[in-house]
Structure formats: structure tokens, C-alpha cells
């Protein structure tokens, strides 16, 4: 059975029309299922764990990046997830802004999302982890004053720009290729048009006294902190126009 998890902000009346449209489309496609509204529950983990126990296999985040990350955190941290990992699927129906994860999955809008759920194309995807938070796309920090510590060596960035730790690419125009199945994070440092650095790593420590690390455009994290990656941890339902092989 499908479980649709609606984020808090969808209670706003301006999303009523979109939600109605999604529900009608899902009914037409025979994909209707149980709806859980995050505004009505305090314990997401408990609610999801309960659904897994009851036999639910597909969890669909209806909302934005934050919704997806909340649900991933709740699924992964469930005590019983490891037993069901290969059977539990994650889908996304993007609503509103901040939907780079959906874009990475090749999902442009809510209508396309419904069709993608029906097609059920599944990919195993790595999951980034930093300070107890999971992330699918990337972690970003200002480059000036940033020190990165990797296996046996450190990198100091002097110029202004951006350091991105990428798990899953969210921008098609980016000059690098990132593989979300390789069990590695891609470190991409851009301090000018022609000044780009790139390397791959399993873990990385970040230090910056002035700036915070931002994951998936949502959560700010103080440094020093360590990032790592878990290989093929999530089974995601993706579109054919996804930004990875």
C-alpha cells in the first residue's frame, strides 16, 4: 500500500487546489493510499515504523526537500528498516519551492510525479550523513576560510566561492558528473569561472569559523563537522529524465 506523507505547510489554503489535483490524479491512476499529515503527528518515526509493520512498502513525500529529508530520517532510523530496506520505496510529489531532490529524480511537477509513481522505476541511491542529518543532494559552505580534512591530507581554500559536497547532482548545468551509486561524495570547489577543484572521498571533515554548512538548501550546521556516505541506502522511485545514470 502507498502511504502519502503531507508536510505541514500544505495546510495553507493556497495549496488546496494543487492537493485536490494530485488526489484526483492518484485516484484516476489507482494509486490512492493512506494519507499522513505531518501537522497532526509528533512522532514521524513511530508513525512510519507502524506503517512498515502493517505492510506498507511505498512512502511518498508530498512537499519539498525538507519533507523528503524528514521522511528519510524517520524511515532509516526505524529499528525495523534494515529488514525491509530492499522492499521499502521512497517517492516524491513536489509541491511549492525548494524541490531540488525531486529535480534530481527527474520529477518536474506534481502531475509528472503521479505518472512516475505509476511507472515505478526504482534506483538504489547513496545517502549522505552529517551531524545526525541525512541528505540526498548536497552540503554547501562558503569557500573562504574553509579547511577540508580528508584521508591523510587537508585542503585550504583561500579565495571566495563555494565548496559543495555532492551526493546527488541537482543542477544539470554543473560542470561535474556525480554518481549517487558509487558510495563516494564528490567535493566540488568553485572560486572563479575557470578555477574549479574536484575530488572524491568517503568521509570529509569541514572547518570554517565564520560560515555554516547548509544541507539540501534547508538545514544549517555548525562546523567543525564530518560528512560521510551510506552506499545504496535508499530505494527511490525516479523518472526517466533523472540527473544520473
Amino acid at each position: 500500500m502507498h502511504v502519502y506523507i503531507y508536510d505541514d505547510y500544505l495546510n495553507n489554503s493556497r495549496y488546496n487546489k494543487i492537493i485536490n489535483r494530485i488526489e484526483i490524479r492518484l485516484t484516476d491512476l489507482g494509486l490512492n493510499g493512506k494519507i499522513i499529515r505531518l501537522s497532526g503527528i509528533k512522532n514521524i518515526k513511530g508513525a512510519i515504523q507502524n506503517e512498515i509493520k502493517l505492510g506498507s512498502k511505498t512512502f511518498i513525500a508530498v512537499g519539498n526537500n525538507q519533507t523528503v529529508n524528514k521522511i528519510i530520517g524517520a524511515i532509516i532510523n526505524s529499528d525495523i528498516y534494515s529488514d525491509f530496506q530492499k522492499k521499502t520505496l521512497l517517492g516524491i510529489i513536489p509541491v511549492g519551492s525548494d524541490n531540488s531532490i525531486a529535480a534530481s529524480f527527474g520529477i518536474k511537477n506534481e502531475e509528472e510525479a503521479c505518472n512516475i509513481l505509476l511507472a515505478r522505476r526504482v534506483e538504489e541511491i547513496d545517502l549522505g550523513l552529517v551531524a545526525g542529518h541525512y541528505f540526498l543532494n548536497q552540503a554547501v559552505i562558503q569557500s573562504s576560510g574553509t579547511v577540508l580534512e580528508l584521508n591523510g591530507y587537508s585542503l585550504e581554500v583561500s579565495d571566495r566561492g563555494e565548496v559543495k559536497i555532492i551526493n546527488l547532482l541537482s543542477d544539470k548545468n554543473e560542470t561535474i558528473k556525480s554518481n549517487p551509486h558509487d558510495g563516494l561524495l564528490d567535493v566540488f570547489i568553485k572560486t572563479g569561472k575557470k578555477n574549479e577543484s574536484f575530488l572524491k572521498t568517503k568521509t570529509i571533515k569541514i572547518f570554517n569559523a565564520k560560515h555554516k554548512l547548509i544541507i539540501d538548501n534547508i538545514i544549517e550546521i555548525e562546523t567543525p563537522t564530518e560528512l560521510s556516505v551510506m552506499k545504496n541506502k535508499i530505494n527511490a522511485i525516479v523518472g526517466k529524465n533523472r540527473m544520473f545514470e
Partner: protein, 136 residues
Amino acid sequence: MFSKDNKLEKFKDAETIIGSSIKVKGNFQGQGDIVIEGFLEGSLKTLASVFIGNQAKIAANIEAKDAIVNGEVHGNIKAKNYLAIGNTAKIFGDLQYGEISIEKGAVINGQLLMLSEDHKKNEKLKDEKIENSVEK
């Protein structure tokens, strides 16, 4: 990977690229091609190729299969297969190589030693063992 004029042909294919605004300290090890345009202090080792750009400043011993040097290196360089030195290169250290090419204008302050055929064979066997263990 390298063209005749000591420029990278497939810049994007490199496993690691260190830009000119980056300073690396420590023991840098890789399996694939490495491009250094910035600063490096420590050591640099890869099973594949190393490209040192003309803005790069290196204070490290370098060990690679192939190496192409256009920048400043304070340290020894060991290229088991091929070592190419561009006209902007300044090297202060000893060089070991299978084959070498040096452009007019390059500065080399150190000893040059061509690796023997036996040494090359032994190194090749060592590399194959490492590659196999990495694959496993």
C-alpha cells in the same frame, strides 16, 4: 592523456583536480589521474598520471605512472613510465623515469636516473598486485 604540447587532453576525465586557489597539506594518494594547479606540501602518489600546471608550486615527492610537469617542484619525482617536463617547469630534486622528454627552457636541479627494464617490470608487477587488491 597527454598531448605533445604538454597540455591535458581530457581535463575533465581526471579523478582529482586541485585548482590554483587550493593549498594541500599532507600525503595525497590516488588511484586515478590527478591534476594540480595549486599548492601541495607533503607527498603525492598515484597509480595513474599526474599533471602539474604552470601555476602550481609543489613541495613534495611525487610518484606516478606518468607525470607531466609545467610548474615548480621541490622534491623528487618518480615516473615509472613517462616523464614530460615543460618549458615553464622548475624542478629542484632528483628524477627517476622510464622515458623522459625535456623542453627547452626547463630548469632542473638534481640527478636524472633512468629506471632499468628489470625495475620497470618489478614496478609493473607491484602495481598490478595493488590494483587487484583494490578491486577485491
